[in-house]
Symmetry: C2
Subunit: 223 residues, 2 copies
């Protein structure tokens, strides 16, 4: 894998806030890997659609999956262009004016085209990759051929991509800093609670450490 | 405001999992109100775009705002159809098979058309509405006319809308329940940390209670 930065394109170059645009490969990867879901945009019958869905990155590709009957996935399988957005909120930023109100965030936008994964062995590996991504250490029974057949996996190369980061906290207009008003930020993060066992757990099975100490992003992952 | 349910349409009727589709007005409102951001889909020059952005609901309309120069907002102002998606993740669900892996979530999808808010007084009210939504109790200085002019506010009526809810936790195929594997769910929520004062706070200003006890959704809001 190349460690060079991605090359900006007319679509990924930020026009309005160029200082917030980033093309660093590690940063892009880290944002995707931390996210639980992406919002995937597609044009279906001329109309915009947005699909919230789990996403996994393997090297320089991201993957989504779902039912073969899903309309958005079907359009993407047939080559419709995709815009894949991943957004992490880091802070609520309270400024001294309404226009100083903001969020600190890290986001990624990928412009890409999907390709269906058809090889059963590769699909089998992707099932495991989604499990590993959402819950490293968790063991599942092997997929059945009919389950694999019913599931559409789509691969999207990460080529045309940008990250956008706002991490400055309060950014008021200069004359506002002296105002007699509070300003600051509230850190936002995902909290993972104590695991709840499935009520139909087989006898003698304990809640595993990987569930009791769940954290995100996963500590170990293939790059 | 009517308290009746929204009417399903061909676009908002769930085909694949009809049991997960909901049209209850209070449920739709509650999901929108809890979310910090929406992902807004639009078609710009024939391509899909997805804009992550803050959203506010007032009655039966939602509002987004941004720079007059933003491309997606510009297309929506000119009448391009919008798909507005709000997604809240409630649990990571670890089943006994890869296909039993899932997320519990609550989401809303609105199909609508935007309309620019042009009245300066209404825009002024919306500035306050965004502040109230993100941080109830916080005081800001009044907006300046040139700030109002530079900001595009778009209103979208909530008419064609569905909520989608998965809240069942582990849902394995029947023969998997007896397997010698752990299954369960990990609750996911947004955590709000201790507020961090702006480093340039005027002297003598204390961190207010509304920041120290930040919670979401806001306790009080106009319906």
């Amino acid at each position: 894998m190349s460690t060079e930065a991605y090359t900006p394109t007319p679509r990924t170059k930020l026009r309005l806030r160029p200082d917030r645009g980033h093309y660093d490969r590690e940063l892009v990867h880290a944002i995707i890997d931390e996210a639980l879901i992406a919002h995937v945009g597609a044009v279906v019958n001329g109309e915009p659609r947005v699909l919230p869905t789990a996403i996994v990155r393997i090297g320089e590709d991201v993957y989504i999956h779902g039912s073969q009957a899903n309309g958005v996935l079907g359009a993407l399988k047939d080559g419709a262009p995709a815009t894949i957005t991943v957004t992490l909120i880091d802070s609520i930023v309270a400024g001294r004016s309404g226009f100083g109100f903001s969020l600190d965030y890290r986001s990624v936008m990928i412009f890409s085209h999907g390709e269906a994964v058809t090889d059963p062995e590769e699909k089998r590996g992707l099932v495991q990759a989604f499990v590993n991504d959402l819950m490293p250490g968790h063991t599942v029974r092997p997929p059945k051929p009919k389950e694999l057949a019913a599931t559409l996996f789509l691969r999207f190369p990460i080529e045309e991509v940008s990250a956008k980061v706002r991490d400055v906290g309060v950014l008021d207009v200069e004359e506002d800093y002296g105002l007699d008003l509070w300003a600051g930020k509230i850190p936002v993060s995902l909290a993972f609670g104590a695991p709840e066992d499935c009520p139909r757990l087989a006898e003698g099975i304990a809640t595993p450490d990987y569930a009791q100490n769940y954290a995100r992003p996963p500590m170990k992952r293939s790059t």
